[in-house]
Symmetry: D3
Subunit: 135 residues, 6 copies
């Protein structure tokens, strides 16, 4: 009995989109208002999906308290109320687009969750814009 379980969490952060290998003008052209030098910010809404076999002892795929604690320690404590560009190791040299943030969250959690589970990340940057990794 293979089931997917989903857990939601959120964090608030500032960021700006910028590629240091491109000119200022090119960055404005590519990223528009998201390139604002002084940053802007979002309430990021995160949904972590873990897929695996149901454990016959518990009836759980994955203990949701363990999963939410892991998300708290690994993701919320790392990114919440932070400036992604300035305050985090992960985005010092990586443009913090929603695509890249989802990818980074996947890489962090992938190391913490056993190989017998599949993992997928959905991230809403706003109620209208979201991404999913892996596709």
């Amino acid at each position: 009995m293979r089931v997917s379980v989903y857990r939601r969490a959120h964090f608030n952060a500032a960021h700006r989109l910028n590629n240091p290998n491109l000119s200022a003008a090119e960055n404005v052209r590519l990223f528009g208002v998201c390139n604002n030098n002084n940053f802007h910010g979002h309430n990021y809404e995160l949904e972590v999906k873990v897929t695996g076999e149901v454990n016959p002892d518990t009836g759980y795929v994955y203990d949701m308290k363990d999963l939410s604690d892991m998300i708290k320690v690994e993701i919320e404590d790392r990114f919440d109320h932070k400036n992604l560009n300035l305050d985090t190791e992960e985005f010092k040299n990586l443009n913090p687009t929603a695509e890249h943030i989802a990818y980074v969250i996947y890489q962090i959690l992938r190391k913490k969750i056993g190989k017998e589970f599949d993992l997928s990340i959905r991230l809403w940057e706003t109620p209208r814009n979201s991404v999913e990794y892996p596709a």
Copy 2:
């Protein structure tokens, strides 16, 4: 033209998580507050997904009134305002985790929906915790 159609419904129920083959202490360790002897409860939000070919006469994959009536009779009438552990046949001997509830709903509806359709169940136990079967 193959399309998926989704119908949402909900039911309110009490439950507790417990494995009678394990000790009381082990049940507390595994299920924490969800093991509370006197039960707790949820507003379960259900989304049923049916996938198939569009009928050229109707432009429908599946008549949504038929689907919502089926969910009403087969799922809501069975589980709404019930104690899943005490009032239902399905969970007398099955721990009513969200994973198992989704699996049971799938088995009930699978028998009612023609084999030419694929079926999938998404179940939210809270706005932050949900499951999907099959994965």
Copy 3:
């Protein structure tokens, strides 16, 4: 500068509606499926509204971390994953309708929040049913 601030929280609980001064038949007539002997349950969604003057030092009416901590300790820890009828002092002799739950939450928080603030409670029993106290 007088402003209202709102904080949302939630708790999951089992309950049944029953008036011990009335006959079983009368209780069924009044409360229908909500009278189920074995209980049912809800995800209660709570919004606490505090109104007062903005503190010129902080720009806050009320520190939202203090408010959310208070709600956690006083309301969530008391009612979450509980059977309201069996596990709580407050509803041993009070029918746990949404109206009464909002009233009880108001009485608990009113003692913890300074008299210079107005207080109001909104409680959703389901996404479609909610109450507000005081009216």
Copy 4:
């Protein structure tokens, strides 16, 4: 690095469900209140999913401003505040079920989005009824 990006939009429209090759009685039987001669209407909520490789210069799969502008011009301007049956070319001879609307939106956007991207359409006719194409 293959990622899916999602963009939400909406439009309000009137429609009726009717198959001109069938009798009036048969149309009522098939479509019930949705067959009402004088039309009814919905707030359609649309989610467009585009899947592809992340561009290493931008960190984007697809520029969300370009995508939202495309949805505005191609879908919202075409269908918003319209009678789907009377005011649009697309549904003059096609029954405007949610299945067909999602299919039509897919065909329109498919021509505008490069072949290196996968495309998928989710359309909510009401908060409880939605469809997805391709399945």
Copy 5:
């Protein structure tokens, strides 16, 4: 103990905004795309608020099943899947703006709910536009 109770419901309808006492050009100027001759439509979301004393026997202000049945019979059956301008008595000679629809719903329900209760109507025409009567 005075409490407000709220019940949500919804209906889908077509309408157009038009004032027959004004010229066609003036109607277009005032109502824009909402004046479309062939109608457009909405999923109307309704919240009915009833305020009164809590009945000591039931712990209810107003039986929510009675209230939801009343909304079903008086409002949903009257307006759901209808063309407000063509299919209803209420809007044959009254422009079906959200303001007027809320007012009409208030008048209908006011006659059905005892004078000891206050009544208020909130109506969402879209997730972004709503009205409340009385103000």
Copy 6:
């Protein structure tokens, strides 16, 4: 016939909470993670409420297109994708708490909306935290 109309909008911004008249240590004590030197950010959700008499020619209290255009020009263009502390005149010398942001939005819109209308601002900083001005 006096009715309230509500219009929703949103903007994304970075901010930090800080009172320059207090020590760094006192600012950390008061504002915690919200004091982060490098800013954090939010998706602010705004609801503007305008109350007045229904115009008998239009059936409108206030033209919603005019209201949404005004919010676009006066609020979204001013604050969206900005750093409230660094990029705006309004918060150069005013701590950008939700209370103050709602107050500032009220002052801006109050000058644009006729005196015959009442005005109220509701602002969500996160889905769980919101404020209302005037109280």
